[in-house]
């Protein structure tokens, strides 16, 4: 698998989880909540990292990246929380799927990061 594809492994897992949710009779609201939260936080990451790359001030870059990480954590936790409030089982399913996505995302990041070209 090319390394660039490995960076989006979490999305492949997210898509793969849908038929498993359907076949196993797991609450689809859980999949939807996790998918919404995960996709939104990845979009936030993309835009904030793009903004950080455009800045020459290391303090701005560090501030943006830290704020991005905290905001992304809240987005994922918030989506699980909201789903869990409406249906407890769905909240649990969303939490497990989100942690699974994080595992694949974090592992792929650790593998691909050294191969990335320095950001200009």
């Amino acid at each position: 698998m090319p390394l660039s594809a490995l960076r989006y492994l979490d999305f492949a897992v997210l898509l793969l989880a849908l038929p498993i949710f359907i076949a196993a009779g797991l609450p689809l609201l859980g999949w939807g909540g996790a998918a919404f939260g995960w996709t939104l936080q990845r979009a936030v990451q993309y835009f904030i990292e793009k903004r950080a790359r455009e800045s020459d001030d290391p303090r701005v870059v560090a501030g943006l990246l830290t704020a991005s990480m905290i905001a992304r954590g809240w987005i994922v936790a918030g989506s699980i929380f909201v789903v869990g409030l409406s249906e407890r089982e769905a909240g649990l399913a969303a939490a497990i799927l989100s942690i699974t996505l994080f595992t694949f995302y974090f592992t792929s990041q650790m593998i691909t990061r050294p191969f990335e070209e320095p950001k200009r």
């Binding site: 498993i20 809240w74 936790a77 929380f81 409030l85 497990i96 994080f102």
Partner: protein
Amino acid sequence: MTRKQKILLGAFVYLAVAVALYVIVGSDGKNEEFKPQNEFKLEPWVDIHIAGIDMSINKAVLYVFLACAITTGTMIWIARRMQDRPNRVQTLIEGAYDLTYTQIARGNMPSATAAKYFPFVATLFFFIWFSNMLGYIPLPTNTHETIDIFGIAFPAFALYAATANLSVPLVLTLVVWGGYQMEGVRRHGLIGHLKGWLPAGVSGAAAVPIFFIEVISQFMRIISLSVRLFANILAGHLLILFMGGGLAVLLGLAALGWITLPIAIAFFMLEVGLIATLQAFIFATLTSIYFGEASAGGH
């Protein structure tokens, strides 16, 4: 708006959301079912008892195997791809080699000893580093709690590290401790090695109590070296667990989760970005210092 006003506004919104969450969701009361200590419980997966010694395969053993496999696999994979014009990965590895050889080994041992023990010190550094890093990836290893999919009970996700179990740092420490004592005895003989424990210039009657203090200090190294690594990694995992939701679940207060989550993220960043590498560096550096001291003949 000034920076101070922005910070105050951010803090106000942060607390206001927590209060609003508490008003809306309230409290479920203390959760008696959630036992945080179970996260670190080692249940035997494969029972093995040899001569009354429990050698069962459990979560900690799996993490040791994984760390070993990743360390050797990565190093062999990189070694086979070395080229004259280094790519980014090779540059990073050459940087890590330089750190372990120049800073850790050569910086603390005489050159002949450094050349001899560098592979050992570097292996320790990389094994501890990979083991620590592996500990921040949630893996399905919690057999105490399971997830039922298609009727199969899958283990729940957990954060764990081989180095978060005292046995692993202790074994590494005992190997280091025994190794440098043997190196000292081999170089200077038993009496010469023991004499080397005394600080330079100490002689006469003062040498006796100081020698006993040095004996205690030698044995204390086993505790300090192993507990430093174990306690740092375990403390990091506990902080991430409790701040990342454990405390909110335990107390049944969802609003608390809103407050503690950023703290968990900050701790996670600190652990991954600094503590994992720093602890591996400290362990390998102290190993080099001890070997250097033993081969040079004392303080």
